[in-house]
Subunit: 361 residues, 2 copies
C-alpha cells in the first residue's frame, strides 16, 4: 500500500552499488561493467523501478526535452489549417532526434491559469505567426532565457526566424494575372488582425499581421489600386462568404481574385459557381499555400506552393542548433508559382504578346 515509488538510491542499495553507478547504468554516459549493469537492472526490475524520474533529472541537467509551440488561436482552429498541420509535422520530425516532444501552448491564456510560457518546463520555444501577443510572449521567453525561434513573424534582430518570400511570391501571381489582361482585381486577404470581422479594409487601416501585409504588398506591387477584402480566417467557408460579397454586384465584380490562401480561393470558386460564373472563363482565382484542397476537383488552383514541412523542419533544426550552443540563422523560404486551371485570360482581353508569366526557368 503505502509503497513509495523506488528511487535510484533504492535500486543502488538493492544492487549493492553506489547511486552514481546506478545512475550511469541508466544514462549510459560512462562505461559500466556488464555484470554491474546486470545487477542494477535486476534490482530495478525487482523494485519495479521504471527509470530515472524525469523531473529530478531535468532539474539536474537543466533539460526537460520539451519544446513549446505557441499558438495564438484555439487549437481546433489552428489544426484546421493544413499548412500549420504539415508544418507541425515537420517540426515534430525535426525535434524528435533531439529527444524532445512538442508542448502545445496558447499564448492568449483565457483563464490566466493554464500551462503557459511562464510555467512550463521548456527547453526552447517556437512561436507561430503570433503577431498580436508576439512581443509579450517574446519578453517572457527572453527573461526566462529560453532559446526561441519565430515562424512567420518579426521578433527583432537576435531571434532567428523562419519565413517566406510572401511579397515576391504574391507579386508573381499578380504578374501572371496582369499578363492575362486582368485589371479589375480584388485581394481576398487573411485577417488583418486578430478578432477581425470580415469586410473591406480601409486604406487607412494598419495591417497588424505580417503575412497578410506582405502578401497584400506583393499584389499591390502589380495592382496598386486593388481593393482588399479581409476574411476572418483561412477556411473554405470564410472564402465562400467573402466570395459572395465580392461577386454580389455584377457591375463592380472583379475579373480576378487574389486569395491569400488556397482555402479562401476554394471558397471563392464555390461562390462563383453559386453565382453562375465559370472559373476561369468569367473569373480567375489564385490561391496561396499549395496544399491539396479536398473536394476542389476538377479544379487545380493557380497558386504559390510553399514548403510547409520544410518550414517546420527548419524551425526544429534552429532549435536544435541553439540547444547545442551554436546560433541559428534565419531562413527565408521561397514559394514556387504553380499554374493550375483557375486562371485564364480576362474576359475581352487580347492574348498576351509573350509568355504569360515569369513563372519559372
Amino acid at each position: 500500500m503505502g509503497a513509495r515509488r523506488a528511487t535510484i538510491s533504492d535500486v543502488a542499495r538493492e544492487a549493492g552499488v553506489s547511486p552514481s553507478t546506478a545512475s550511469v547504468v541508466f544514462s549510459g554516459k560512462t562505461p559500466v561493467s556488464t555484470q554491474t549493469r546486470a545487477r542494477v537492472l535486476a534490482a530495478a526490475e525487482r523494485l519495479g523501478y521504471s527509470g530515472p524520474d524525469p523531473r529530478a533529472a531535468s532539474l539536474r541537467t537543466g533539460r526537460s526535452g520539451i519544446v513549446g509551440v505557441v499558438f495564438e488561436e484555439h487549437l481546433g482552429d489552428t489544426f484546421l489549417d493544413p499548412v500549420k498541420t504539415v508544418m507541425m509535422d515537420g517540426l515534430a520530425d525535426a525535434v524528435a532526434p533531439l529527444g524532445a516532444g512538442l508542448l502545445l501552448l496558447r499564448d492568449h491564456d483565457p483563464a490566466g491559469v493554464g500551462a503557459s510560457l511562464t510555467t512550463a518546463p521548456l527547453d526552447a520555444a517556437v512561436l507561430i505567426g503570433c503577431s498580436g501577443m508576439l512581443r509579450e510572449s517574446l519578453s517572457v521567453v527572453h527573461t526566462r532565457g529560453i532559446p526561441v525561434v519565430v515562424i512567420e513573424g518579426d521578433a527583432g534582430a537576435d531571434v532567428p526566424r523562419i519565413d517566406l518570400d510572401n511579397r515576391e511570391a504574391q507579386r508573381q501571381a499578380a504578374s501572371h494575372l496582369r499578363s492575362l489582361g486582368h485589371e479589375r482585381v480584388v485581394v481576398l486577404s487573411l485577417p488583418i488582425r486578430t478578432d477581425w470581422v470580415p469586410g473591406w479594409v480601409p486604406e487607412t487601416a494598419g495591417i497588424e499581421i505580417d503575412v497578410t501585409r506582405e502578401r497584400r504588398d506583393g499584389a499591390r506591387d502589380v495592382f496598386p489600386a486593388a481593393p482588399v477584402y479581409a476574411a476572418a480566417a483561412s477556411s473554405i467557408d470564410e472564402g465562400l462568404a467573402a466570395g459572395r460579397a465580392l461577386l454580389a454586384d455584377p457591375a463592380t465584380r472583379p475579373t480576378a481574385v487574389i486569395a491569400q490562401s488556397d482555402l479562401l480561393a476554394a471558397g471563392v470558386i464555390r461562390a462563383a459557381e453559386e453565382a453562375g460564373l465559370d472559373v476561369p472563363r468569367d473569373l480567375s482565382v489564385t490561391g496561396f499555400d499549395g496544399i491539396e484542397v479536398d473536394g476542389l476537383a476538377p479544379y487545380e488552383l493557380t497558386t504559390l506552393v510553399q514548403p510547409a514541412a520544410e518550414k517546420g523542419r527548419a524551425a526544429g533544426a534552429a532549435v536544435a542548433a541553439m540547444l547545442d550552443g551554436r546560433d541559428a540563422a534565419s531562413i527565408r523560404f521561397t514559394c514556387a508559382f504553380r499554374e493550375g486551371n483557375t486562371s485564364a485570360l480576362a474576359p475581352g482581353a487580347a492574348p498576351p504578346a509573350s509568355g504569360p508569366v515569369d513563372s519559372g526557368g
Copy 2:
C-alpha cells in the same frame, strides 16, 4: 557575462527575507504582508527573476503541469482527421483549468530516442485509439504510476475509458438502409490494423482495431453477410480509391455502402459521381462521425453524429479527477443518427411499410 540566472534565494537575499517567504510570494499558498510582497517583487524585478524554475518546482511538488497525449501515427495524419482535431480541442479546454498543457507523443518512436512516455515529465497520459502499441504504452505508464485515460480502446478494468456506442450506432444506420430495401450492402471500414493495405477483409482475418471491429459488428447485426473492404486511412482520397474498387463491376455493385467515417463516405460519393451513378438514387452512402466535410455540398451525409469535443472534454475531466485523487468513471457516449440526402430507397425496392428507421423519439 557569466551571468547565472537568479534563483529564488538570490531574490530572497536581495529583498532581505528568507527563501521560504520569497517562495510563498510567488506561489501565494500562504498569506504574506503587502509590504513584504512588494519588496520581494521589486527585488525580483531588479534581478530579472521571472518566477520559480518549473523544473525545480515540479521536482518538489511532484507536478509538472503536463498531460501527455499519445498517438500512434504521424502527427500530420492524426490532424488530418477532423474528429481527432475537435477532440484535441475539447481536451485542451478541459485540461487548461488544471494549469496543464498537452504534450504530443508518438508511442511508436521510430528512432528509439525522442521524448516518450518513458522520459517525459508527465502528470497524466491520454492514449488515443492506439490499439496496437496500447498494451505496451499502458505498462510503461503503469509502472511509472501515472494516471491514464484511454479514448477508444480497451485498457483493462481499472483504466477509465472514453468511448462510443459504435456498434449500436452503426446498427442504426444499417437498419435505416435495410428499411429502405437495401440488400447488397458493403461495409467500407477503417483500417483493421496499422500498416494495412487497402482491400477486402477475409472472413478469417482478425480485426485488431476496436473501432473498426465494433462498427463492422453493428453493420453485420443487420446485414450478416455484408463484405468488408478496409481502407488504409480515414480520408477522402482513400474513400475515393476504395469507392472505385467497390463500384468497378456493375454486376456486383452494391446498392449501399456503409462507410465507417464521413471522409470515406465523401470519397465514395466522389467515386460514384465518377462512375456516372446518382447518389442516392443509384447508390446510398452512409458515413460516421458527423463532421462537416468541406466540398461535399450539396450532399448532406446520412451519418452518425458523434460528440467529438465532448469526448475530449470528458477525457480531460477524467484526468482532472484522477489528479485530484478521486477516481474517474468510464464514459460511453452515444451517437445521434442523422438522415441526410445520401440515402434513399434501394433501386427497384418497394417503399417501406412504416417509417424508415427507428431514428429518434
